[in-house]
């Protein structure tokens, strides 16, 4: 858009405002007959531009509205997104925790696939059943029943990308429901292989 038409767009008068969304040539606004030919051409060009800009703005607004709605919608039950950020633990933080904690080591539970656990898991961790299935939640509950509610628990899964993990959310919610106050979830953005094993953090196979 030229500087001139840009200026016209900004300093647009009331009649032009009314005609902003009109297709040039299809209707005539009163009071525009006095424009000379140069102004008329510029105005026609400006109107077409404005129509395109208006269409773009409407499209952008609708897209933004859809994104906003998705963003502010509550996290679906069971999603890993339902776990508060304050309760997330980065892999390096867990390593540090394991190295520095002498007395009260955290209980690390894998709440995903057993087949993945059997191939490789964090040394010292236990398999607690898939959090996405009722049987897994029951297994977790049985394991945790006798423990102190203040015990530091670290849950992890790593079956799939964080936004797709079906296991961590329900397992975390179950422990909170049981009264555990010190539950963390290991944040693995992609999966256990990419974000833990491939980075050289310790693993061990077995059941």
């Amino acid at each position: 858009m030229s500087k001139r038409s840009h200026k016209l767009f900004i300093n647009i008068d009331l009649p032009a405002r009314r005609s902003m969304f009109m297709v040039p040539g299809t209707a005539r606004e009163p009071g525009t007959n006095g424009l000379n030919s140069l102004q008329g051409n510029t105005m026609k060009f400006g109107l077409a531009e404005r129509s395109r800009i208006a269409a773009f703005l409407i499209f952008a607004f609708l897209s933004f509205a859809v994104q906003l709605r998705a963003q502010f919608a509550p996290a679906p039950a069971g999603s890993a997104f339902s776990i508060p950020e304050a309760q997330l633990l980065k892999p390096e933080a867990l390593i540090q925790l394991l190295q520095t904690t002498n007395k009260d080591k955290p209980l690390i539970l894998q709440v995903g696939s057993h087949m993945l656990f059997a191939q490789a898991h964090i040394p010292g961790s236990e398999y607690a059943g898939p959090g996405s299935q009722p049987a897994g939640i029951e297994q977790l509950q049985i394991r945790m029943n006798a423990l102190s509610r203040k015990k530091l628990i670290v849950l992890y899964c790593g079956c799939c990308p964080w936004n797709r993990c079906p296991n961590l959310g329900p397992a975390f919610a179950k422990l909170r429901e049981m009264g555990f106050t010190n539950v963390k979830a290991l944040y693995l953005a992609n999966n256990f292989g990419a974000d833990w094993a491939d980075k050289g953090y310790p693993v061990e196979p077995g059941n």
Partner: protein, 181 residues
């Protein structure tokens, strides 16, 4: 913790918007990193590890028997949403490119075979699928996250590994170069 999404339910709007942007960027970076064929994998351009299984139709599934075909070996599970998104495309590819020598093989990494069989029927998979186990996973370097797909050429050599939510168009472009005209 920096770089990790805040609690959606409790955070103020501005923080929620901020973490959403950070999360989106992080996921984009993560996914794009994960979906690239891993050039440094020890299997690349080497013979794919052999295995024999019984598929869900009770037929023998011997990887060696597919020598001469281009094989797309897909590790999946019922709990893997991304895997299920890929399946209809795999079905279409098997129909479209099967006559040109493509063979898709599915390996379920589910703990419960019944769940895998159920999804196999529901998705009407038109290619052989068998159950995997930790030994098969370790044979392929550890299946520590799904989806995971290997592209094996007609000589039985691994040509690419696609890990995570891969760009299906790039997989298609890759295997098409190996197919018969």
């Amino acid at each position: 913790m920096s770089g990790i999404p805040k609690a959606i339910g409790n955070a103020p709007c501005i923080l929620r918007r901020s973490f959403a942007v950070k999360l989106l960027l992080g996921l984009c970076v993560g996914v794009s990193a994960a979906q690239s064929p891993v050039a440094t994998t020890s299997f690349l351009h080497k013979q794919a590890p052999q295995f024999v299984r019984t598929d869900f139709e009770n037929r023998k599934l011997d990887l060696r028997a597919y020598r001469g075909k281009v094989v797309l070996l897909d590790f999946w599970a019922t709990w893997c949403a991304s895997c299920q998104i890929e399946m209809p495309r795999f079905v279409a590819w098997q129909s479209q490119y099967g006559p040109r020598g493509l063979q898709i093989i599915g390996i379920s990494m589910d703990d419960d075979p019944a769940l895998a069989r159920k999804l196999y029927k529901k998705m009407k998979l038109n290619y052989p699928v068998a159950m995997g186990d930790e030994r098969l996973g370790q044979l392929y370097g550890g299946v520590l996250g799904l989806p995971l797909t290997y592209l094996i050429d007609s000589q039985g050599n691994v040509q690419a590994r696609f890990r995570g939510e891969a760009d299906l168009n790039s997989i298609e472009e890759k295997f098409k170069t190996l197919l018969r005209p």
